[in-house]
């Protein structure tokens, strides 16, 4: 019964979060102060969905990044990959803690149809990650291309959160995700171009 309620809640949140009128435009001009970022502040369905979608996405990013550890790649690529891994693991833990504080389900509805109206789940396919793990030649190029594509998806999700979320802490996290992933993409494209 409890599980049914949880699923129902998730379903309602999904229903509420997707396809409704866009959230009112956030106030501009006023910078966020640390005092405003409180975990007990309000949150909306967009915040919840963002966290539920990002947690597995962060895990996948860390998994991809980890592949560089034992493979042939330039040192600078490995350093970036290791930093991406540790930062994303930490971000995922922070997000899980938030969902727990809010008493929200840790996972989203995994049915692809449930997300069809906003382009589907932006996860990288596990098969694709497995394929990358199995490549025997030119690993670094393929690694950088796959991770870059993955991080582009993180930016898209984070932008949706900054536009439609309500919770100041989560919106700030999303903003940092936009900034950091954009910079990571820039670095990875520079590596690829050399």
């Amino acid at each position: 019964m409890k599980r049914a309620l949880l699923v129902l809640t998730a379903g309602l949140l999904l229903l509420a979060g997707c396809g409704t009128d866009p959230a009112p435009a956030p106030a501009t001009g006023a910078p966020l102060t640390p005092a405003a970022a409180s975990t007990s502040a309000e949150f909306n369905s967009a915040d919840v969905m963002f966290l539920q979608m990002m947690i597995p996405h962060l895990g996948q990013g860390a998994e991809i990044a980890r592949l560089a550890k034992d493979r042939t790649a330039r040192e600078e690529v490995k350093v970036l990959a290791a930093a991406i891994e540790v930062t994303q693991v930490f971000e995922a833990d922070t997000m899980s803690d938030l969902l727990r504080d809010w008493k929200q389900p840790a996972t989203m509805d995994a049915n692809p149809d449930a997300h069809a109206h906003h382009g589907g789940l932006p996860l990288t396919s596990p098969d694709t990650i497995a394929m990358l793990a199995a490549v025997t030649d030119n690993f670094e190029t393929k690694f950088l291309n796959l991770l870059t594509g993955h991080q582009h998806n993180a930016v898209e999700m984070a932008k949706a959160e900054t536009a439609g979320g309500a919770n100041p802490q989560v919106k700030e996290m999303a903003n940092r995700i936009v900034q950091s992933r954009t910079a990571e993409i820039s670095q990875m494209l520079a590596f690829l171009g050399k």
């Binding site: 129902l8 379903g11 309602l12 229903l15 396809g19 956030p26 001009g29 910078p31 966020l32 600078e76 350093v79 970036l80 290791a82 930093a83 930062t87 693991v89 930490f90 049915n111 692809p112 149809d113 069809a116 109206h117 906003h118 382009g119 789940l121 932006p122 996860l123 394929m131 490549v135 030119n138 190029t141 393929k142 950088l144 291309n145 796959l146 870059t148 594509g149 993955h150 582009h152 998806n153 932008k159 900054t162 536009a163 919106k171 700030e172 999303a174 903003n175 940092r176 995700i177 936009v178 900034q179 992933r181 910079a183 993409i185 820039s186 670095q187 494209l189 520079a190 690829l192 171009g193």
Partner: protein, 249 residues
């Protein structure tokens, strides 16, 4: 179970009057892509090798238009810079045969990959509706062309009317290399998104774009931090918000 029935089930279960959401036909993650190496024009914009590109720097993967176009910007006005031949586009120094690599944001059913120079299609790869693998690369023979060449690559999606366009500037066959600089480009700080970014606290020795070794110390926002993991700093990885990289002392 289709989307509408699922929504109905949720609504009825909660005792709400059913509200139907218009379901778009896409059943998979929307796919985007561009050529990363040799760098396409959008890749050069995204990595900061070309200044003042405009919004393309945030979404190099989105140069999408109907199939059959021959422009570098897929006719999109917001990405008009890509079709601006007056810009100093860096040219990749290549030989007579080039391997092109793609960034894809999702593996999407593909009909063909086409490569054009000057209106002539010099290569086509037919995936017949298959989904690409973990990486996509094509080795293309430039047909004896030398000197400065502009190549247009097209990723034709199988089950939509659209394609993705990437122009790549090449310098074929040595003699006066015009490679992009080998020093890493400065990290560009994106302008604010809809949420205004937190104003960084004044002062402190931490800065983006610097290489930090384990144990190095910085100050930021009035506190001192020790680096836990080697990295090149970027906006978004400030010490106060990134305990995975920085330990507050």
């Amino acid at each position: 179970m289709n989307l509408k029935r699922k929504l109905m089930a949720v609504a009825i279960g909660a005792g709400l009057a059913p509200v139907f959401v218009v379901a778009l036909p896409a059943a998979t993650a929307s796919a985007h892509g561009y050529i990363s190496s040799p760098p396409s024009r959008q890749a050069n914009c995204a990595r900061g090798a070309v200044a003042n590109c405009g919004p393309i720097i945030y979404e190099p993967q989105s140069v999408e238009g109907p199939k059959g176009l021959r422009s570098c910007n897929a006719g999109l006005s917001q990405f008009a810079v890509l079709a601006d031949e007056s810009r100093a586009w860096p040219k990749a120094s290549v030989g007579g045969t080039v391997t092109f690599n793609w960034v894809l944001t999702a593996q999407h059913a593909t009909s063909t990959w086409e490569y054009y120079i000057g209106g002539t299609r010099i290569a086509v790869f037919d995936d017949g509706g298959r989904t690409p693998g973990a990486s996509v690369s094509h080795t293309v023979n430039l047909g004896g062309r030398t000197g400065t060449q502009k190549l247009l690559a097209i990723w034709n999606i199988s089950n939509t009317a659209n394609a993705f366009y990437s122009c790549v500037d090449l310098q074929v066959g040595g003699g006066g290399t015009t490679n992009p600089p080998t020093t890493p480009p400065p990290t560009t700080t994106p302008p604010p998104t809809t949420t205004p970014p937190t104003q960084p606290p004044a002062g402190g020795t931490w800065a983006a774009g610097k290489s930090y070794a384990v144990g190095s110390q910085v100050t930021y926002g009035g506190s001192t931090y020790k680096c836990l993991q080697a990295h090149t700093s970027i906006t978004g990885w400030e010490p106060s918000s990134t305990p995975a990289l920085w330990q507050k002392l």
